[in-house]
Amino acid sequence: MDYAIESTELVKRYGARRALDGLTLAVPRYAVLGLIGPNGAGKTTWMMSIAGLLHLHSGTINLLSRGPFDPALHSGRITLLPQDSELPLESRPIDLLTHYGLLQRLTRREAKHAATEMLREVHLGDRLTATVRSLSHGMRKRVMIAQCFIGSPELVLLDEPLSGLDPREAAHMRTFLTRRRGRQTLVISSHNLNDIEAMCDRVAFIEKGRTVRNTTLEEVVGKNSTLVYRVTSEPADYAALTAAVSDATFSFDAETSDLTCRYDPRRFTAEAINRILLPALLAQCDVSTITRGDNLENAYLNQVIGNG
């Protein structure tokens, strides 16, 4: 497989604490990878190390098959949306993004054109010449996102891209980022798992500076091994359900009224399960929706709880 990022056994210490504790993570080219993990798990540290902002104590990184980050090799090919980083306050978005484009070796005309286009894409076409100081938090965030896509870099690292955006802009940004799928490699770190689920095709769980899981979103949510039935009431007779589909396990979430059926995909298809299970279920309650796969939040929490 062709990888955009191959990071192996990365170690970053802050005093006695290990922010990265032998973290190994590979991101295939053109994947949209969601980084998930609790606060302090090492997601930001990993991203900053990849972009050369932090110096590692050990480990190896191979970016776009050209070795560790080197501005001479990777300038314009990798961009980053860092967390908690202000843009220069007196600058104007159009000047700033044109400047960044020039640093990425675009010509002045290309840089200015790209800057204008990107700012329009993030709905800031009317604030091109306002100072950053005069922009709201959400607008600044959109400028920060726009700067990542100047010059169409091959790899974009986004740390909490949608935090601080209003719902309308967050939805627009989700669409904007989803449109990049298959054209660029994106790594998105976020605590909002619905956002990750909407935008990513791969996810990596990071805990205590290590990668716990790195796989496709489909596999994590069990698209081929889980069916979720939204029911009107909890079925009273689980034995009847288990009798209908042997080896399947059932769990019920009283809050959402979701009945989750996990089955062995090597033995059954989703259609087969549905054909057998639905009559047994309808005998006990009504079913409003049937979804293939669990949601990411449940899948993540199950994984975390499963790991203790």
């Binding site: 902002l53 501005p71 300038s75 961009t79 220069p88 007196e90 640093l103």
Partner: protein, 301 residues
């Protein structure tokens, strides 16, 4: 080649950004005001001095300052004063006969430029490291390009400030002094601005080099002010304690690391000392900057 181009882009952007910075603009305006006031008050003083000298030499009294500047130069007390100020016969020889206005402006520019440098540029790097703005740049270019670009951008900014202050001082002189509005005087004032600009480079390197060491802009400014004060104090101490024998004989060599030791070369007319002094001061500036950069190169941002 592309590294040089990137450095140039950063320098240009830094210059424009500095021009937009409210703080830098306030300092710049204050500096211009100080240059204008200094010139105005100095002309008043000059006028009084000339009047007294004219009386002593039994020359006809003048209504405007500057008319008897040649006579002023020839007076022994004035020459003694200048000798004490320059502490260098060659420099005294070179500046003898120059228009007093030039010297007044030159003294002002050389004396206050280090302070201007610290107040305008002392916090620029720390500010961007502290706010995180640097993180948007150093994955696009090397840290060295960023540091050098910022340094060059600030050099432009200081150069502009000095050119404007020289021009303002010239305008005041033209209005207030008889027959001083000549193009020659203007060109000489510009020349002094350029000399003061070269003298500012090591201080700029020192202030910006120190700025690499901290994330706090105010701490960086304080560190810059302390460092520049230390430079002045050390220069005075070295001059005071230098002797012909023993370890004190080596003190002037140590002094070569300080900008003050090369300042008077910029007051000379001959090209050789002027070029040597300029080259040394520019080199010192870059050395100071790179000392700070050496720390920044390995730090996390």
């Amino acid at each position: 080649m592309s590294t040089l181009v990137q450095t140039w882009h950063i320098a240009c952007y830094e210059w424009f950004d500095a021009l937009r910075s409210r703080r830098a603009l306030v300092v710049l305006l204050l500096y211009l005001a100080a240059a204008v006031c200094n010139m105005h008050w100095s002309i008043n003083l000059l006028h009084r001095l000339e009047s007294e000298l004219a009386t002593a030499l039994q020359l006809p009294a003048t209504e405007q300052a500057g008319v008897v500047s040649t006579a002023l130069w020839k007076s022994k007390p004035f020459q003694r004063m200048m000798k004490r100020m320059t502490q260098n016969d060659l420099v005294l020889h070179d500046i003898t006969g120059k228009h007093p206005i030039e010297l007044i402006y030159a003294w002002f520019a050389f004396f206050y430029t280090p302070l201007l440098v610290v107040l305008v540029a002392g916090n620029r790097i720390a500010e961007e490291i502290g706010s995180g703005a640097v993180r948007y740049v150093i994955f696009r270019t090397s840290r060295a390009s960023w540091s050098i670009g910022k340094f060059i951008g600030q050099m432009f900014m200081i150069g502009l400030a000095l050119l404007l202050s020289g021009t303002s001082a010239y305008i005041v002189a033209k209005i207030r002094l008889a027959g001083s509005g000549t193009p020659d005087l203007f060109l000489n004032m510009v020349q002094w601005s350029l000399r003061a600009w070269i003298y500012s480079i090591p201080y700029l390197g020192l202030a910006m080099g120190l700025s690499h060491l901290t994330r706090s802009p105010s701490k960086a400014t304080v560190m810059g002010i302390l460092a520049i004060t230390a430079c002045f104090v050390l220069s005075i101490l070295i001059r005071h304690f230098t002797a012909d024998t023993g370890w004190r004989a080596y003190l002037p060599h140590l002094g070569q690391l300080l900008p003050d030791a090369h300042k008077m070369l910029l007051w000379r007319n001959a090209p050789a000392p002027l070029i040597a002094g300029s080259a040394t001061l520019v080199t010192l500036g870059f050395c100071y900057l790179f000392t700070g950069y050496a720390f920044f190169r390995t730090r996390d941002v």
